[in-house]
């Protein structure tokens, strides 16, 4: 067997230097910018959510505007568990992921029969319906006030949450690393390769004996589980959950972050979420009204200079530099 090129979709396994560098940078941030730890934690939560969306859009070709349903469900499950006295955080995250996955397994067989614009419209409608329902169900969701008084037990019974947010940051980072490793395993597997075949040509997949829908439903459930876990981490790190988790903005933000970072490699989420969130954080301090302008200009740049996102632009520039030296 001759060796495959390293950029083949069959060679996604194996740790890349960039991934290690990203992790080192994330750990370093905890020490270099201790005053920004809470921002950092929310960035990491979004990284996990965008990772889940990349499995769906980037690898399976499913464009959904209803991803906030799973994020929101996970967030509320963590909230309800805590208020019911279940304060152990790790099991709560797993249960939130399980709840979101079960919902996806119920919705998936119906929703994923659609493709393209109809799929977009149906998921959009679902997202809006769930948001409005959550708004009405004040008994469950706390309505506009959200759920407060959420208490979380120390992580592993040792690490208290009160120390300047460092516990929360490291805790979410650890989840992020674990989830990234698992998702990477999934997209590197023959299952992941089949998903990319479905993205490229679903009709052809059927004619080589793949029924398509079971693969998509499983990918949807995995994606939802990760989104639900991100939601639970959101609740735990804020000790609060409000209706905002179900908002359409979340679904749209996730899409923008993924496009900014680069679709279909899992690495785009690692770049896109921090880029968007940090730009939003710092430019809205500079001017709370015009920060979207900056995002808009960035998006235009990404669309103009190739569809690989920030990652693609960086790779292009790097290849150009190396080519120029020769």
């Amino acid at each position: 067997m001759t060796a495959l090129p390293s950029d083949s979709i069959l060679m996604r396994h194996g740790v890349r230097r960039g991934e290690v560098a990203w992790l080192l940078l994330a750990v370093a941030c905890a020490f270099v910018f201790p005053e920004y730890l809470s921002v950092g934690t929310s960035v990491l939560v979004m990284v996990i959510l965008v990772l889940s969306f990349d499995l769906l859009l980037g690898f399976s070709g499913v464009l959904s505007f209803g991803h906030a349903i799973f994020f929101g469900l996970g967030a509320y499950v963590a909230g309800w568990l805590s208020l019911a006295g279940w304060t152990e955080p790790i099991s709560a995250v797993l249960l939130a992921g399980l709840a979101a996955a079960l919902l996806a397994l119920v919705l998936g067989p119906f929703v994923l029969r659609l493709t393209g614009l109809p799929l977009l419209m149906v998921t959009l409608a679902l997202g809006v319906l769930v948001f409005e329902a959550a708004h009405k169900a004040t008994g469950l969701t706390g309505g506009d006030d959200g759920l407060s008084g959420i208490r979380i037990a120390p992580v592993l019974g040792v690490f208290d949450w009160g120390l300047g947010g460092r516990t929360g940051y490291v805790y979410v980072l650890a989840w992020g690393v674990l989830i990234f490793a698992l998702l990477k395993r999934v997209v590197s597997s023959p299952f992941g390769v089949a998903l990319q075949g479905i993205r490229e040509n679903p009709g052809r997949m059927r004619l080589i004996g793949n029924a398509v829908l079971p693969h998509l439903v499983l990918a949807y459930a995995i994606s939802a589980a990760v989104a639900g876990m991100a939601g639970a981490l959101f609740t735990q790190s804020n000790a609060f959950v409000g209706l905002g988790v179900f908002a359409l903005d979340t679904s749209v933000d996730v899409l923008v972050m993924l496009i900014l970072g680069g679709i279909g490699s899992l690495h785009g989420a690692l770049i896109g979420a921090p880029l968007y969130m940090l730009l939003k954080h710092f430019s809205s301090q500079w001017n709370p009204f015009y920060w979207m302008l900056l995002i808009g200009v960035l998006l235009i740049a990404v669309v103009m200079f190739g569809r690989g996102g920030a990652l693609g632009i960086a790779r292009h520039a790097w290849q150009g530099l190396r080519g120029g030296r020769r």
Partner: protein
């Protein structure tokens, strides 16, 4: 070779598109190891017939059996898993993936690996080796790691065949496999078809009489959705009606090898 149960048996297939009756009561039987060519003028409904056989379309009437099993209502993916494999007249590939990846997807699917979420694809040596063997068999190794959208159309046709072979077909339907393959690469296609295991039944839709002559032991003629006749190539070619509706003098000459095949 003729076992009691035919490999593929279609009985009374009919299909309407609105008022257009594109397939009229077609009955066709493919024995184990058959090498049948389906010919007919443009618009005779050849591709529609293949779509009916493979389950892309559902017939309005008629039955389909594969090795005696009734698959009239079976989905395309189920028929494929049962060994009924087709290629496309117009290439239908994963254009943004490489040749190797295209073939790997089919190999992995056929091996039942596509629900393996854990072991990396790049470490599935048995799948990778089978993929490489298929790629080499079709002499595609030069283009192995190029995107399908970047290779010549004739080469794409060969990828199409490689994917079909990856499916370990028992009955293989080739929808105009030679269309778009340049003459200097045609021998690769014929070589691949000739090296198929003898027990596979092959039905080839083909315009080119030279291909038909070299490949087929049986020929069926489809005209306006109806099976006009079938028989050995010689019988069909000497049939006056076939000559009239389809072949003409040029086609007959080509069949008899008087015209240099695929001369540029």
């Amino acid at each position: 070779m003729s076992t009691a149960v035919p490999a593929l048996e279609a009985a009374g297939l009919s299909k309407h598109f609105g008022a257009l009756h594109v397939t009229r009561d077609v009955s066709l039987s493919l024995q184990h190891g058959a090498r049948m060519a389906l010919i007919g003028p443009n618009g005779a409904g050849k591709t529609t017939l293949v779509n009916l056989l493979t389950g892309v379309l559902k017939p309005d009437a008629g039955r389909l059996r594969l090795f005696g099993e009734d698959l009239t209502q079976a989905s395309a993916s189920r028929r494929t898993r049962r060994g009924l494999v087709r290629t496309f007249q117009i290439s239908s590939l994963y254009t943004e993936l490489t040749v190797f990846e295209n073939v790997f997807i089919a190999v992995s699917e056929c091996a039942g690996a596509s629900f393996d979420l854990w072991r990396p694809a790049g470490k599935r040596i048995e799948l990778l080796e089978r993929t490489e063997a298929l790629v080499e068999r079709l002499h595609l190794h030069e283009d192995m790691h190029r995107k399908v959208s970047e290779i010549a159309y004739g080469r794409q046709r060969l990828v199409e065949i490689a994917i079909a072979l990856a499916m370990k077909p028992k009955v293989l339907l080739l929808d105009e496999p030679a269309a778009g393959i340049p003459s200097n690469e045609l021998h690769l296609l014929l070589g691949a078809i000739e090296s198929l295991p003898a027990e596979i039944a092959v039905l080839m839709i083909e315009h080119d009489m030279e291909m038909v002559r070299r490949f087929a032991t049986e020929v069926a003629v489809l005209v306006q959705g109806e099976l006009l006749m079938s028989g050995t190539p010689k019988e069909v070619m000497s049939h006056s009606e076939v000559r009239a509706v389809y072949l003409g003098a040029a086609g007959t000459e080509r069949f008899e090898g008087k015209v240099l095949a695929h001369a540029a």
